[in-house]
Assembly symmetry: C2
Homo-oligomer: 196 residues x 2
DNA sequence: TTAAGCATGTAAGGTGTTACATGATTGA
DNA sequence: TCAATCATGTAACACCTTACATGCTTAA
């Protein structure tokens, strides 16, 4: 049973407790969004497929005239999540436009390379700040939230986001300094165009 | 003029010098692949579109009966690359299955969380090693290669790949230690299922 | 009463990979 | 001669986002 990307996040979210499609979407946006996103256009059709495959089952939870279906894992579904969690991680994808620009800066716009690196650093620093605020907000308002669970972005994973962005900011900052100091030793970035 | 992801990498590659579609693909696989991939199924149609838009032009470079077209930037194309490089970086996408598994380990398979983190660490450590070997190989064989240019994976960018993977390995290693030591203070990872 | 949020879903369109199809050239 | 590599391209399919469509409920 090959699980699609969306199936993985749905099944994982349902492992803690049954939820509606809407709730799954909110949770994704609040937690895994930075490293594993999903949209309604993926979630609802995938819920249907998972039900057909017998991994989840829906039960009606309408309130009055507002329809609502909560989905829960079947025994087969629980087995599938466990198997997936056991299996070695494979997907790791990265798409970083700042890095691509830096890569080309040498041939397309040599003078600006350091500036580009600095902009990219600022961008990641900004994200780190936003995430730090979010974490602080979350920690202080903890009194009224539910107890720790997948319902809240895991502290550990949030910290990953913060620390990774800090690391990236630091790296690009150092790269900018290297580029400014040593225009003489271009490290492969500013040297294109020399060939012919 | 909105540039597609593939257009960006093609234009960037052509900024250094004219190349065939085949050469562009080889270069991508040798350099930007880790943070900006492209396949033939994207490259050839995109070359056609870019030519129609007047950003590049092809000239015949067939050798005997083997057809070959090299593409070069037009004045308009050069302007487009420069504009793109000037513009603030936006795309940053990450998809990390190991992190997702760790996120769910608490509710799906609590006992294995530390192990999962350790596997993920080993995976990134392995990539870092491979990249380090690649860099060493490249540095030693430098005598017979062409001089530095976009034709070779930039040292700076290669270093990024190495250092980032080392950072990731370190982070997951620390996470594994936290999980082993403090089963008592689960940091949001092993606590799901408590609600109800 | 009206806006915000809950809730489900589809259609269109873009992005991207894989596999296939074709054929030439080069070096072992 | 045979495999590897050069070289171009398409078709099928999967993936994913955005925008739209619909309608209920709750709180201001």
């Amino acid at each position: 049973m090959e699980l699609s990307a969306t199936a993985k996040v749905i099944l994982g979210m349902l492992a803690a407790r049954p939820r509606s499609g809407y709730e799954i979407k909110q949770l994704v946006d609040n937690s895994t969004r930075f490293f594993w996103a999903a949209s309604y256009g993926q979630i609802y059709p995938e819920l249907k497929r998972l039900a057909e495959a017998g991994l989840i089952e829906g039960s009606d939870a309408s309130q009055g005239a507002r329809q609502r279906t909560v989905h829960r894992l079947t025994a087969k579904g629980k087995r599938a999540v466990r198997e997936w969690i056991e299996s070695p991680p494979d997907v790791f994808e990265l798409r970083d436009e700042g890095l691509l620009k830096l890569f080309f800066a040498g041939s397309a716009d040599p003078g600006r390379a350091a500036e580009i690196a600095r902009e990219r650093a600022a961008h990641s620093a900004g994200i780190a700040t936003r995430l730090t605020e979010l974490a602080a907000e979350r920690d202080s308002g903890a009194a009224e939230g539910p107890p720790f669970s997948v319902d809240q972005p895991s502290t550990t994973v949030l910290r990953y986001g913060i620390e990774m962005n800090e690391w990236i900011a630091g790296w690009f900052e150092r790269a900018a300094q290297d580029l400014e100091r040593g225009s003489a030793k271009p490290k492969g970035l500013a040297a294109a165009g020399r060939r012919k």
